[in-house]
């Protein structure tokens, strides 16, 4: 091949050509390998082996060419052709690199077709109970989106679950280990937080306990303003009278016209917290607001619960003149007949005519700001997928689903279903500014002092089964319960009241006994302070049967009704079925209904909230039941007493 008078390329030329031509398949295979591994596609291991084989083969051939050239086995290339050959080789390299870039997805498609889909990357997404349904739709939308872009394979598997604001703060503070994993849920890769204030609180708690969660990303995703929902024939007139008024004026106007006003519980609900801050305006109005809202909740039999449960009761009740403080998003879901959870778990007919809850937008209203928060304590696969979820959520496809679930996406105009048919004004304006955590915390402290005092009677199961072991190192069930009760009683405010009953009354196994009479924290029991008297009374040996229904009926009768100044509640902690009361479920329901006392039950061990009598007693008194693990009695009691006594910490 040599040309006379022109020395050849020599070994370097042949070596370059060899590497270019023979090494390129290796490079392409290596690229495919990296691509498949990065996406977690099945077959990445096979591609790796292929890449190594081809790469090694290419390298060996290149070495052979070089050695052959040294040994003079290959004729030199004419110098005149060197630039052309180098250019051709470089061009080929570039063309093949570009081709590999574009062909990698197609190659991946072939691999998927042959070997099937890989395992989806698992994402754990935390939400609030109020946003759970919306978060699940967003997650479902994202999963489907990945199917369309991954050769028909689902790239992400998203598990969405909910925890209350208090649980989230406590779990974040602990670094999401230990009991947080068991009692709250998996350690989240993504937190769809209801507001920036929630995120701020979680960060603060982490700093306090030196176990801060690794916040990687915290982006605003969407808004939902707080509104006052009005329905019925008088709604239009009231709405006209409210036009241009701030929240304080709107509230006063509603009350002046004889309307009830209900609001989600600020301890359990983010929209309840924002509603509380807005309704108060200044702290001097707090007590008036709380008394009026408390009475409205009692009269309608509304639960002390989050916004969806309040709306669920509203759906069941269809009251004539009751205004509801909720987010615009929750109002749209209500009007559309979406499932609300709890007792409203199935789809309902959309509201029409006068039954549509119409949103009034007070002049000083503010919005909840839904956040996408990425947490960095998972592996790189999850981190990449979480980031991709965040990008999708803030892109066109994500915005479309955000709108479908009734939110106002950031940087996008509002449209269906935010329309007048669903009771809202797409053009409504409100300041797009986050409400600081300090503002909400101040409102909660004011709420604590202004709310009605809690008059609580705890009926504790002291039957023989409570003597069973709760687990290694835990002692008996009664000992676990005693520790939890002693701890929860410390949450009592100065104005709150507490009493303790134990059932059965004696070893005969019937009736109840008053261990500590109901009274204020400061009041002495005999000569002993009340918290100490409670601790002393809990030191007993459980025995006998379980007159559970009798304890419920007698406890409700003894408490006396809720009124403008107090909310009466019976809390029952039991581990078994009723065995000796001789009361039917219907009789229990009739005895407790209409007495303005709420019944709460914590069922542990063999007890269950599914028990008909308990279920009906709770429904008849707007109470609540929790099926609890023995080890979580502590947190369940603290949460419940926090709701009743207004502990906002």
């Amino acid at each position: 091949m040599g040309v006379r008078g022109t020395p050849g390329w020599g070994w370097r030329g042949w070596a370059i050509a060899g590497v270019c031509v023979l090494g390129i398949p290796g490079a392409a295979a290596a690229w495919l390998t990296v691509w498949l591994w990065s996406k977690g596609t099945r077959g990445a291991e096979i591609a790796t082996v292929l890449a190594l084989l081809v790469g090694v083969l290419g390298f060996l051939l290149a070495v052979l060419v070089a050695l052959g050239t040294f040994a003079g086995k290959f004729p030199p290339v004419r110098r005149g052709r060197r630039p052309a050959l180098v250019g051709a080789a470089t061009g080929l390299l570039v063309v093949l690199a570009v081709a590999a870039w574009f062909l990698a997805p197609a190659a991946e498609g072939v691999v998927v077709r042959v070997l099937g889909c890989g395992h989806p990357v698992q994402l754990r997404v935390l939400s609030s109970p109020e946003q759970l349904a919306a978060a699940r739709r967003l997650a479902g939308g994202y999963e489907q989106w990945t199917v369309g872009r991954n050769h028909g394979c689902q790239r992400a598997g998203v598990h969405v679950y909910a925890a209350s604001p208090r649980e989230v703060v406590a779990a974040m503070a602990s670094g999401w280990v230990g009991t947080a994993l068991r009692d709250v849920g998996p350690r989240p890769d993504v937190w769809l937080a209801d507001s920036a204030a929630q995120v701020e609180r979680a960060k603060d708690a982490g700093r306090t306990f030196e176990a801060s969660a690794p916040f990687v990303r915290n982006d605003l995703v969407a808004w939902s303003p707080l509104v006052l929902g009005l329905a019925g024939p008088d709604a239009a007139a009231l709405a006209d009278g409210m036009s241009g008024l701030p929240w304080s004026g709107v509230f006063d106007e509603a009350v002046r016209r004889g309307w009830d006003v209900v609001r989600p519980d600020p301890v359990q609900s983010t929209m309840g917290q924002l509603g509380t801050a807005l309704l108060y305006g200044d702290a001097t109005r707090a007590r008036t607001v709380e008394q009026r809202v408390g009475l409205s909740l009692d009269q309608g039999g509304y639960p002390i619960a989050d916004g969806l449960e309040v709306l669920c009761r509203y759906r069941q009740l269809r009251p004539a003149r009751t205004a509801v403080v909720v987010s615009e998003q929750a109002l749209v879901r209500f009007n559309a007949g979406d499932p609300l959870g709890g007792g409203c778990g199935s789809r309902d007919d959309p509201r029409t005519g006068d039954e549509v809850l119409r949103a009034a937008y007070p002049s000083d209203t503010r919005g909840l700001d839904l956040r996408f928060v990425q947490l960095g304590w998972s592996g790189s696969l999850q981190q990449r997928e979480a980031a991709a979820f965040g990008t999708w959520l803030t892109g066109d496809d994500g915005r479309r689903v955000l709108l479908q679930v009734g939110l106002r996406p950031r940087d996008a105009p509002a449209g269906d279903p935010l329309n007048e048919r669903n009771g809202v004004l797409a053009r409504a304006t409100f300041p797009r500014e986050e409400v600081a955590a300090t503002v909400l915390d101040t409102a909660l402290r004011t709420y604590d002092s202004a709310k009605r005092r809690g008059r609580v009677l705890l009926a504790l199961d002291g039957s023989g089964s409570m003597g069973a072991t709760a687990g290694p190192g835990q002692g008996t069930r009664i000992q676990v319960a005693a520790r939890a009760v002693s701890s929860a009683v410390t949450l009592m405010g100065a104005r709150d009241e507490f009493g303790l009953w134990i059932f059965p009354a004696d070893r005969g196994g019937t009736g109840t006994r008053e261990a500590v009479p109901i009274g204020e924290r400061a009041g002495l029991v005999g000569a002993v302070p009340r918290p100490q008297a409670v601790r002393d009374a809990l030191d007993f040996v459980p025995a006998g049967n379980t007159p559970l229904y009798r304890a419920v009926v007698d406890g409700v009768a003894a408490l006396g009704p809720s009124d403008r100044t107090r909310v009466s509640a019976l809390v029952v902690l039991t581990d078994g079925e009723d065995t000796t009361s001789d009361l039917t479920p219907a009789r229990v329901r009739d005895e407790v209904a209409g007495r303005q006392v709420r019944v709460f039950v914590i069922a542990v061990g063999e007890a269950t909230c599914s028990t008909v009598a308990l279920d009906e007693a709770i429904a008849a008194t707007s109470g609540h039941c929790v099926d609890a693990d023995l080890l979580s009695i502590d947190s369940q009691l603290s949460t419940l007493f926090g709701v009743l006594w207004g502990v906002s910490g």
């Binding site: 099937g116 889909c117 395992h119 989806p120 990357v121 698992q122 994402l123 754990r124 028909g152 394979c153 689902q154 598997g157 598990h159 679950y161 994993l181 068991r182 009692d183 709250v184 849920g185 998996p186 350690r187 890769d189 998972s378 592996g379 790189s380 696969l381 999850q382 039957s463 023989g464 089964s465 409570m466 003597g467 069973a468 072991t469 709760a470 687990g471 290694p472 835990q474 459980p542 025995a543 049967n545 379980t546 581990d575 078994g576 079925e577 065995t579 061990g605 063999e606 269950t608 909230c609 599914s610 028990t611 008909v612 099926d627 693990d629």
Partner: protein, 439 residues
Amino acid sequence: MRFLAWLPGWLGRHRYALMLADAVAIGIVGTLVVTSLTDDGPVDLEPGEIRILSGLDSSTGRQRQVLIDQWNLVHPRNKATIVELPADADAQHAEMVAQAQSGEDDIDVYNLDVSWTAEFADAGWIRPLDETGLDLTGFINEPLETCRYDGKLWALPFNTDAGLLYYRTDLLATPPGSWKDIRDAVDKALGGGSTTGVAAGYTAQLAAYEGLTVNALEAAQSVVHGSIVRNGRIDTGVVGLDELQEAVDRLRPTAGTPQFLLPESLEYREDQSTEAFRDGKVLFMRNWPVAYRNLVQSTAGEPTPGPAAAAVPFAVTALPGPGVLGGQNLAIAKNSARPRAAQALIEFLTGDYSEQILFDRGGFAATRTIVYEDPAVRRNHPYAVTLLHAIQLAKPRPVTPCYAKFSEVFRTAVDKALRDDERLPPDIIDTLNAALSNC
């Protein structure tokens, strides 16, 4: 003694060598003595803590922790800790998969639901067990088979489960053996008019969750008298659209009197169906064995009335067809830094002694035959023999890495057919096959 006359001189000449030999011998013996006194298991177990990722321990008295405490007592170099997850199976699955995908070595042992074993093995998140010297003969075969995938043994069965049929002994003389028997018994007991408090014949767990998948699979298995999935695909040789439709129809609420299915069953999980049975609303209930203990209130400190004296007198029998196998398997995490220690722990937790504790005190169905043969166990738990029989008849859920997808697709179709009173879609077999093979 003249023949030993050379000894003193020899000892004197070799005194240093002898002193060295003495020192070596004392060292060896001392080491052996100290080792035997502080023995904490086979010397080749890698030292360090063993962490088990598991769902909430729902056994009576937290017997899993009791066993771990016992292990820790004799294995101070390999103390074990249970990292507990919520009772919700979906939450457990999400955390375990995320942990496995993270590539970290925080977890040594996964307590997997039987239906996830194939997924974890296929993905390479767990490692096969070392079968050298492993005696598997004591395990009940059916739960042990759920630990195998692709020809390898990936786990050992921790506890098992199989559905039972609960029936009212005050209204029925003999237990039913087939669906026809159940139907006939309902017609006979309720057909003549109202029987006090009894609203319908049958209840089960038909809310739209894993329980619906299990009940629908059991109904289908009762139609074809065997498993409906073979080699990762719907076995069209034994089941077609008509058979699946018949299975769904068996769970369908029907109008008229007497009502076969309690209509509320479409919202029921385990607890609610137990309560409905306890309240005397139905003649029959399909449920797991744990409902037995809840129905008789056999809790410490209170009289144990037994099934005959429970709120409603009842007994249990096998389902009218093969049930679906439940339970959990213990597997070693791929990234565990101490796989031999992890396997030793798994062998301890699934041994005869542990299985007896878990069943007798904790209420978990044991995976070893010998537990059910113990006279004391049979005396304390009269349903033990029936349960063993039900486990041996039961079929595993489809063994595929895509089980979660299959379950979701299957129960969604069944739920829609039940609620909307429709037929299953004509392409249901193809849809299920797609879900089984591609997730």
